[in-house]
């Protein structure tokens, strides 16, 4: 427990100290939200566009922070030999990984809170009503994406290619899942692809809670799909995660 707290503290310091992670991981969804609300007017799902975009951006934030951000951070550390170096210390590997995952969840929690504040300031979006359901949904989504991010590192061979790989997954996923607005007018094929992606279910869940006054337990299917993706991610991560650089 002492080691966990020690590591979490240093993880936070390392994250905010690095300009790349602070800007690209933390600020990017906030920037995107600002841009999208500036160009979209009118209504989405029968609500002001900014409300739906806020909900979509929470889902996108979970994907880009807990999935993409985590994968990029861990691949960089692996290739630099930092993960290998850590393994020679008494810090248990599981404690280390749990601290790293918690740290990225903390970043996402701050990001989600900032999105609500930004929405309020820019577009007077309302505060959420069912806060507990929302927090549980975001935590579930972020945990599932973090597990998938951990699994993804096993498939990224080099630091140079890592951000390309990650973006090629995250950006289309976000489009197909309705992070940037309704997918109702998309072609059938694209919607069918979106229907198997975890982000779609997270966005649905958030929309239900934030826009339609539902609770997390009103959407058992979305919860089940997210949990299944998380478990899948964990199972793959256990097999594929590597501590040592690819070469040498």
């Amino acid at each position: 427990m002492r080691l966990y707290r020690h590591q979490l503290k240093w993880e936070q310091l390392v994250f905010w100290r690095s300009r790349e992670s602070a800007v690209f991981v933390f600020l990017f969804p906030l920037l995107l939200f600002t841009l999208l609300t500036a160009v979209y007017n009118g209504q989405i799902y029968g609500h002001p566009a900014s409300w739906a975009l806020l909900a979509g951006m929470l889902g996108y934030g979970a994907a880009t922070t807990a999935f993409a951000g985590l994968a990029l951070i861990l691949v960089a550390r692996r290739e630099m030999g930092i993960l290998k170096r850590i393994r020679s210390t008494p810090l248990p590997p599981a404690t280390y990984l749990v601290a790293v995952l918690t740290s990225i969840m903390v970043v996402f929690a701050l990001q989600a809170a900032s999105l609500f504040v930004l929405g309020k300031l820019l577009k007077s979006t309302p505060w959420p009503h069912h806060v507990l359901s929302l927090v549980l949904s975001l935590a579930l989504g972020a945990a599932a994406f973090a597990a998938l991010g951990l699994a993804l590192t096993g498939f990224i061979r080099s630091l140079e290619g890592s951000s390309a790989v990650v973006n090629i997954i995250v950006l289309p996923t976000a489009f197909l899942s309705g992070s940037f607005g309704s997918v109702a007018h998309y072609p059938k094929v694209l919607r069918a692809i979106g229907d198997v992606l975890p982000l779609k279910y997270l966005v649905d869940l958030i929309n239900g809670i934030y826009l339609n006054g539902q609770e997390i337990w009103d959407k058992p299917r979305a919860v089940a799909v997210l949990a299944a993706w998380g478990i899948l991610g964990m199972a793959v991560a256990i097999r594929k995660f590597r501590w040592e650089p690819r070469e040498g």
Partner: protein, 284 residues
């Protein structure tokens, strides 16, 4: 007779078809400084990383501080310090922060400031790691390896990239660790470093230990001298314990024939000579 800190018997390791280690055996006593020498690809890093617990072995018995490194956990890692051949640390943290972070992993760490002074980075204590020079980064690796106050220190080419003054300082540091009773296993390509620091050395070639002993033993005892000269266009090398008599004969013969002894050199062989002749390809 002090207990063995490390004992290795019949160690084998293959990477696919390639046999990197072919039956290696050696022991390192507690408090001993042991040097592992050998050309690129000889298997030094493979050996050291098996002992550190990073790599699995195919065969052989390995005991390090009473643990089997392949299965050992935190209790083992409390007692070892590691400098990897290649690794980086967080570029955005400072020297002091990096030491503090690692110190937090151990039950009884050394004081971070004290370690920073020990490795000669006190002027850089608040500098970000990314601004350090190559040699300074290496000193940081060394500091981080020592911050847990280990009993056994693994150093894989610890002084690569050091300037001559920094190398001397690192030697002093390693000697002071030795005087504290620490066991040290180091690999190096600098033969003078092995000669200066190591109580015993082993020379690896193609996955086998081809020579083992004190640096003095390897240079062929203390009283042998190497005499080289050219005769009929061929280089002749003679090792002798009686250089005076040999030289007398050589020069007398040359004087009698009224010629010079060509290319005459007289010197004590260094570890480097022995090393080069041992590791040279035995072709032709």
């Amino acid at each position: 007779m002090p207990a063995a800190a490390i004992s290795v018997h019949g160690l084998r390791k293959s990477y696919g078809e390639y046999e990197a280690l072919r039956e290696i055996s050696f022991e390192i006593a507690e408090g001993e400084v042991f040097g592992l020498l050998g050309p690129n690809g000889a298997g030094k890093t493979t050996t050291i990383e098996i002992l550190e617990g990073y790599r699995s072995r195919d065969a052989g018995e390995v005991t390090v501080l009473g643990f089997d490194p392949e299965r050992a956990g935190s209790a083992f890692r409390e007692r070892i310090g590691v400098v990897l051949q290649q690794s980086q640390l967080w570029p955005t943290l400072t020297v002091t922060e990096t030491h503090r972070m690692f110190a937090g992993y151990y039950d009884r760490p050394r004081d971070a400031d004290e370690v920073i002074k020990l490795v000669g980075l006190e002027e850089k204590r608040d500098a970000r790691v990314k601004t350090l020079s190559g040699g300074q980064k290496r000193r940081l690796d060394l500091g981080v390896a020592l911050v847990g106050d280990p009993d056994l220190v693994f150093l894989d080419e610890p002084t690569t990239g050091f300037d001559p003054a920094a190398r001397r300082a690192a030697w002093e540091l390693i000697r002071s660790l030795r005087s504290l009773g620490k066991t040290i296993l180091l690999t190096t390509h600098y033969l003078d470093e092995a000669e200066q620091l190591a109580d015993r050395v082993a020379v690896l070639r193609e996955g086998r230990i081809i020579r083992e002993g004190t640096p003095a033993e390897l240079t062929g005892g203390t009283n042998e001298t190497e005499v080289r000269y050219r005769q009929d266009g061929h280089e002749v090398v003679v090792r002798t314990t009686e250089p005076t008599r040999l030289l007398q004969e050589l020069t007398a013969a040359a004087l009698a024939e009224g010629r010079e002894v060509e290319g005459l050199q007289v010197r004590r062989p260094t570890l480097e000579d022995v090393y080069l002749s041992l590791t040279a390809d035995e072709k032709g």
